[in-house]
C-alpha cells in the first residue's frame, strides 16, 4: 500500500495549471490524482490528505471568477469539503483555486475582484509571510518571490477594516510587500482558523526550481536548487506527514 500522502487535484473546465501543480505536488512527495469535477463524488476524498484547486479560468470566469466552479462543487458534494477540513484534511487554492475557496466560504469572508489597474497583471512579486506557523509557509523565509498572473486578484472585504483585522489577526497569512493590485491590506493569501485551508493568488507551482526565476543570475534566500514554490509545497508535505505520524 502506498504510504505517501495523497493529494487530490480538482480540475474544472478551464483549469489550466493542473499539470504544473501536479508536478510540484509529486516533486515534494505526494501521490497525486487529477480529478475532473464531473467525476467528483464524496467518496473520492477517502484516504486523501490534501485537496488542491489550481489556477486557470474555471468555466471561463463566467458571472465572476470561481462562481460557477463553487456552485457546481457544492451541487455535487454538498458540504463534503467542510467535513474534510473538519476531519483534519488540508485544502490549498492557487489563484483561481483561491477564488473558488472564497466562494465556497472555506476562507474568511472576502472576494477577489478586478485589479485596481483594470488590467491582467503578469509579473513577479515580493511577498511577506505573516503567519510563520502556517503549515503552508513554515519552510519559507520571511520574504520571498513568486509570480502572479491574474485579472481578478484584488482581495476586498465589506469594509477595509475587516481586511485590516485579517492582517492583525493572522488570517492574512501572506501579503504583498508592495501595493500590487489594490488588495485591501495588501493581502495575497488567506488562511482559515484551523490553518489547514489556505488560498493565495501567486503561483508557487511556477517557481519550483531557482532556474524558473526570470532573472538568470538570481540566487535567492533558499539553499540548493529549489525555488520558493517548492518550499511552500514541501512545508505542506512535511506538516501532513507529521500530522499523520502523530495520529
Amino acid at each position: 500500500m502506498e504510504d505517501r500522502p495523497c493529494a487530490l487535484l480538482l480540475k474544472f473546465p478551464g483549469t489550466n495549471c493542473d499539470a504544473e501543480t501536479a508536478r510540484a505536488l509529486e516533486a515534494v512527495g505526494f501521490v497525486t490524482e487529477v480529478l475532473p469535477v464531473s467525476a467528483l463524488k464524496p467518496e473520492k476524498l477517502v484516504g486523501v490528505s490534501l485537496v488542491v484547486l489550481s489556477g486557470g479560468f474555471s468555466y471561463g470566469d463566467y458571472v465572476m471568477s470561481g462562481r460557477i466552479a463553487s456552485l457546481v462543487t457544492e451541487q455535487k458534494i454538498g458540504a463534503t469539503l467542510q467535513d474534510f477540513r473538519d476531519n483534519g484534511g488540508y485544502l490549498l487554492g492557487i489563484c483561481n483555486g483561491f477564488q473558488i475557496l472564497t466562494q465556497l466560504d472555506l476562507l474568511p469572508s472576502g472576494s477577489l475582484v478586478e485589479n485596481a489597474s483594470g488590467r491582467f497583471q503578469c509579473q513577479w512579486v515580493k511577498l511577506r509571510k505573516l503567519a510563520p506557523d502556517s503549515p503552508f509557509l513554515a519552510q519559507l523565509p520571511e520574504e520571498f518571490e513568486l509570480p502572479i498572473a491574474h485579472a481578478e486578484g484584488r482581495l476586498v472585504t465589506k469594509t477595509p477594516e475587516e481586511a485590516e483585522a485579517y492582517v492583525k489577526g493572522g488570517a492574512a497569512a501572506l501579503v504583498y510587500a508592495d501595493d500590487v493590485n489594490g488588495s485591501f491590506g495588501r493581502i495575497a493569501g488567506l488562511q482559515d482558523e484551523s490553518g489547514r485551508v489556505f488560498g493565495l493568488m501567486p503561483h508557487p507551482e511556477r517557481f519550483l526550481r531557482k532556474r524558473d526565476h526570470y532573472d538568470p543570475d538570481w540566487t535567492g534566500p533558499e539553499e540548493g536548487e529549489w525555488g520558493s514554490g517548492y518550499w511552500l509545497f514541501r512545508s505542506l508535505y512535511q506538516a501532513i506527514v507529521e500530522a499523520d505520524s502523530d495520529s
Partner: protein, 150 residues
C-alpha cells in the same frame, strides 16, 4: 413573468474609456461596466430572487438592482450588448445547467438574456458609434444604446 436584474460593482472605479477603443478619443469619457439579466420565468418570484442572489451576485463586492431603471445615473449614454439569440452563449449555458441541477428550484426558467452594460460619463456627448464599432461584433452580438440619464 419577467424580471430584470442589474449588478454593479462596489469597488471598481470608473476607468478611462479610451481603453475600450482602437483609436483614442481626444476628450475621453470614463466608463463603468454592469451586468444585466433579463429573466422570463414561471413560479415563485422569491425563489427566483434567492437564485439570483446566490448565483449571479457577490454580496461583498456587488450591488443588486431590480427593474428597468438604470443602476447608475449621470451618464452621457450607455451601451448594452450581448449574444444574439441562437449564438452560443457559454455563460448562459453554465447558468442554465446549474439551474437544471437544482432539485427543487421553485421556479421554471423560461428565458435568460445576459447583457453587458457600459455606462459612459463625460466626453463630448453621444459618441456611441465609436464604441459600438469597437465593442460589438455584428456576427454574434445584439446591442442597443441608451440615451443619457443625467
Amino acid at each position: 413573468m419577467r424580471e430584470i436584474y442589474e449588478i454593479s460593482d462596489r469597488f471598481i472605479e470608473a476607468g478611462d474609456a479610451n481603453g475600450l477603443l482602437y483609436e483614442p478619443l481626444a476628450e475621453a469619457p470614463t466608463y463603468r461596466r454592469t451586468r444585466r439579466y433579463e429573466i422570463e420565468f414561471e413560479g415563485d418570484k422569491a425563489a427566483l430572487e434567492a437564485f439570483v442572489r446566490k448565483t449571479l451576485l457577490d454580496e461583498i463586492s456587488q450591488e443588486l438592482h431590480s427593474g428597468e431603471e438604470p443602476a447608475l445615473d449621470g451618464f452621457s449614454f450607455a451601451l448594452d450588448y450581448g449574444m444574439k439569440p441562437g449564438a452560443l452563449d457559454l455563460e448562459k449555458e453554465a447558468i442554465l445547467n446549474y439551474h437544471r441541477g437544482i432539485p427543487e428550484p421553485g421556479f421554471e426558467l423560461k428565458e435568460l438574456r445576459i447583457r453587458q452594460r457600459i455606462y459612459l460619463f463625460g466626453g463630448k456627448g453621444d459618441e456611441s458609434d465609436r464604441f459600438v464599432r469597437d465593442l460589438c461584433n455584428a456576427a454574434i452580438h445584439q446591442w442597443n444604446v441608451l440615451p443619457g440619464h443625467v
